[in-house]
Every structure is written in C-alpha cells, then in structure tokens.
Symmetry: C2
Subunit: 329 residues, 2 copies
C-alpha cells in the first residue's frame, strides 16, 4: 500500500552513465542507482536498461505513490512530444521517442526536459538560487549549456529550444564552434572550446607544454598547465573568462536576473577563470544590473539534472499540466 509522500522518479541520461533516483517533493533523494550508458548500442537497448533501473528504484520505495517519471536528457529535444532529436555522446540517437518508450515500459507518465534547463530549475528551487524568480544558469562542461528562470518559470520558447546561451555569438569573426557558427560563448568557455583553441595555437607554431599531449589534450591538462605557468594555457583560460564575462553581461541586460549561477567542470577552474569574468561584468557601464546581483557557483553539482527532472514531475501542475494529462490518457 502506498502510504508515504508522493515520489517522482528522476532519470539523468548522460553519454557515459545514466542515473535513476526516487525523489520527494522537498526534494530529497531517497534512493539512487547509476549504470553505464551503452552509448554504442541501439537506443532501445539503453531505454530497456533505464526502464529496468526505474523498476528497481520503484521497488525500493514501494510504500510511496510514484506520481511520474522525469527525464533530463542532453541535446535538442521536444519537451511536448517527448522526442530526443539528437544527443551528444549518444551517436545512435536520432528522433528517439524517449517519453513514449519509457511510458510504455514503466507504465508511468513521463516528462522530458533538457538537462541544462532542468539544472537551472533545480538551482532556482533548492540550490544556489533557492527561491529566485529570475535566475540565469550556465554550465561550462564539454559544451556550454544554460537555463533561464523567468518569473519563477523555465523559459522554453516556441519549441523548447530556448536558453542556448552557449550559442550566443560574441563575434562574427570569432573561433569556429562545434555548432558551425563562429564566436559562440561555447567556442571560448567550454572544455571543447579550450582544447580546440589550444590545438589551433599549437598547430600555428605557438610554443606550449600542452603540445606533448597531442590530440589527447583535455581541459584538465590546460588547467594544470596554466597552474604550472604555461603562458598559452593561462591566456586561453583568461580569454575564456573574459568571453564568459561578456556573455554574462549580455544576459544581465536581457534578463535582469537576481542571480547568475555557474556550474560544470570547467567552472571549477576557479579564480583564473572567474576573475577575468568578474572584471568584465564589473566594467559594465550599465551599473543598474549589478545592484543586488549575485554571481555564484552552482550548489547541486552532478545532482542538478536529477533534481530538476524530479521537480519537473512534482511541479507538473503549474508547469506542464497538459503534457502530464496527455501521457496519463
């Protein structure tokens, strides 16, 4: 008999692992599992793995009513139809009807969201921006993701494709981004951006200790080299910080938020990245945007997507009532 408080089952689907958790409304994670994502297998195989893990987690909270399944997925997706168009690091995924498939296999209503959007929601509800009505969230990782909370709600846009601040261009002549455009924030301030710019500088003859890593170079190598005094590495991190600062400044002018939350592995570089970022923000001639503004590190770490997916279900009433109705039918 279901006697406990309502539970959302949350899934965070990543390229190397997926995680499933039972989460209260608070939100409190009662039970969780993590399993490797079989990224090279067909999507059906991965979906079956997830469904099995969901059943296992449900069994562990069998005294509580499970009200739905929330899924944080990477890449472009349709949050209304529940289709994942594409997923970075999951090469076989094209137009996968993830919500339908999971609903069929688990019997639960399923809501789907972009992982960065859901992380923004989680940071606004129970993280670094707890209680914020106007929040800008950026995650600096392999790419740059973002999510915006406006008047307490996620900004999703016409197709759910809003909030791609990583692809805000800061210069038509800037470095080439993975998306095909030039000068995107992601081309400067993501792990991929840092690595690409380093490889390009080395290829053009710039001396740097980074050269010894060859094509295996990653963002952590650049961070470590900068700490040891490598000029190229330090310069790239400084430029990433300045680009991030310009990006944040633009977002202040557009959204006038009370808080900017910055997370992701690259953000943990700390002062060498944050200081130039803050210098550019502080140099903003439009000082009104800095009044009572906080710019802070994310608080929820790797759990932000999972918690956001759970909140998506718990808040489905105001936020996505139609979809929940649709999947329950």
């Amino acid at each position: 008999m279901a006697t406990g408080e309502p539970i959302a089952i949350a899934v965070d689907l990543g390229g190397t692992q997926f995680r499933v958790a039972a989460v209260t409304r608070q939100p409190l994670i009662l039970h969780r599992v993590a399993e490797p994502t079989r990224a090279d297998a067909a999507p059906d195989v991965v979906i079956a793995d997830i469904a099995r893990a969901v059943s296992d987690v449900c069994a562990r909270v069998s005294r509580s009513p499970v009200i739905g399944l929330g899924v944080a997925a990477p890449g472009p997706l349709d949050h209304v139809s529940g289709v994942v168009f594409q997923a970075p690091n999951l090469p076989t995924w094209r137009d996968v009807p993830l919500a339908d498939e999971l609903r069929r296999r688990t019997g639960l209503p399923v809501l789907l969201g972009n992982d960065a959007n859901l992380a923004a929601l989680a940071e606004a509800r129970c993280g670094a921006g707890r209680g914020a009505e106007h929040l800008v969230y950026l995650t600096l990782s392999t790419g740059v993701g973002s999510g915006f909370v406006v008047d307490g709600h996620l900004l999703l846009g016409k197709d759910g494709a809003a909030a791609e601040a990583g692809h805000m261009s800061l210069s038509l002549d800037g470095p080439l981004c993975g998306c095909g455009n030039r000068g995107c924030l992601e081309a400067y301030a993501s792990g991929t951006g840092l690595v690409n710019r380093a490889l390009e500088a080395i290829a053009s003859g710039r001396a740097s200790n980074l050269a010894r890593h060859g094509a295996a170079l990653d963002a952590r190598d650049i961070e470590a080299a900068a700490e040891r005094g490598d000029a190229l590495a330090a310069e790239l991190i400084e430029e990433a910080g300045a680009a991030l600062g310009l990006g944040v400044r633009n977002l202040l002018h557009l959204f006038n938020p009370e808080i900017v939350v910055i997370g992701g592995g690259v953000s943990r570089i700390g002062a060498p990245l944050w200081d130039p970022m803050l210098r550019v923000v502080d140099s903003d001639a439009l000082s009104v945007y800095r009044q009572n503004l906080r710019i802070v590190p994310a608080a929820l770490g790797d759990d932000s997507g999972l918690l956001g997916a759970a909140l998506l279900v718990h808040e489905a009433g105001p936020l996505l009532a139609n979809q929940l109705e649709a999947v329950r039918r």
Copy 2:
C-alpha cells in the same frame, strides 16, 4: 453616466511631444491628442501638461468608465514604484515619481512601462505578431530598444530592466556605445550609432559625401547618401544590418520565438539593412530556430507605445494586478 465599454487612457511620453489617447480593450483609439513636451522645463511642468491633456481626453469619453492611466515612458524606470530614473531627451528628469504625480493630479490608477516593452506587448496583441506567445521586438531609432514576450507575458526581470537588447555586446573591441560599453548592437544599428561611426570614419580621413553635413549629419542623410552610391554610407548600413543579424540570431538562440518584429525609423531603410540582416540569420548553423519563424516589420508604427500603455491597463489583472491594487488604495 458611464455606459460605454471600459476605457484606458494611454500616455506616450516622448522627448519632443507627448500623446494621450482614450483606448478600448480591443484596442481601438477613440480619441487622441498630441502636445509638445516642454523638455527643458521642470518635470512638474510637463506632468501638469499631461494631466491637463488627460482630463481633456477623459471629458471626450465621459460616457465610458475610465479604468486607469497607462504611461509609456522612455529610459530606465521602476515599473513597480512608478519612478522614472532618467529619460533620454528629457534632461531635467531624474528620479521622477511620475505614476504618483499623475495619480494625484488625475485621480486615476496609473501604471508605468518602458516604451519599447509596451510596444512589444502591443505588437504581440494586435500588431505584426498578433496572438504570439513568444515574440522578440526590436526598435531601431535614436537608440535600439527591445521587448520580449515570453509565454504570453512581458519579460521584465527583477527590477523591470530586462529586455535591453540594444546593449547586447557583439564584440568587446567594437565601437563605443552611448552607454559607455563597446560593441553594443545600438552602436551599430541605431541612428546615433550610424552617425557616430560615419563621423569617426570621416575624421580618420575616409572620403565621403557625408562630410558636407558636418556635425549636423543624421541617419536619414546616411540613408540618402547610400542610395546615391556613397561607399561609406552603404558600408555602414551593411554593417548595421550584419550586426542586427547577429543580434537577432543570438536572440533566437536565447528565446526561440515564433516571430521577430523590427520597427523604428532606422528599420525603414529597408532592403539595404534587412538583406544583410537576413543573410546572417539564414547562415545560422542551428537551423531549428528558423523553422516556422517570421521576421517582419512592425505594424503599429508610432502608435505602438500608446497601444501598449493602454493594454497594460486593460490587462492589469493578470499582468500587474498588485500595482493596480496599490495605486487604487
């Protein structure tokens, strides 16, 4: 006796003239007046002029109940307290409690909004974007103003200072903007930006027919010179279009709107500005944002601020109920 349909009195406060109109919910302008703004006088003098015009307009619609006064004002303002911090072209205006003063003099509840935000609202409700839930509005005039409709509501931000796309920077090294920052969209694509860039090019020795205008050069001279084949003028308009295109592209990535509405005097340059803008937008590698997207000229012309101010009052229930309550108390 008030027997007609509810009427909002709308005020559009500009630097050279102010306009007052009686507007139905539809919205339909029943009666309007325009008077010169005494820009060099004390704010009290202008406010008294406005209050008198409001009384005159009210007298003309005396059979209908007047439910409130909506004011579209330029420059930074606090829509909650109703204070205008500063107003371009009104040099004596600093921290003017415009809503309070108008309420005292007219006895009407007063709601205040930024003119570009209100123009965006009007274009979304009854203009080029009629019925749009996700709309981006840009007005290219002396400066570049903007307004965003998100999920059917104006995005105002923490202090009402959101939606300043004119001060989205497209390059840390770009031309100096009137705001003090560099590379703002406004520094390229506003009348002031075009003129400043032309004067700078001429001062640095660039040959152009524009030189004969001296310091009296204005944006219309640049438009006319480009039509007559002046290379500098054509180049500046082309660059303004490209910058506008990059700005629009960024806003697509951030807001995923269904429609982008572009108005203001500079936008009427037409193809020489719109073509390079559209080329940059069409070159966007992230094609999802262009699906079913419309980019169109504004439809309401000079009336957009006035209609938006009226809509502010008519929609005050859902939009700004608290403020309306506060002013009625």
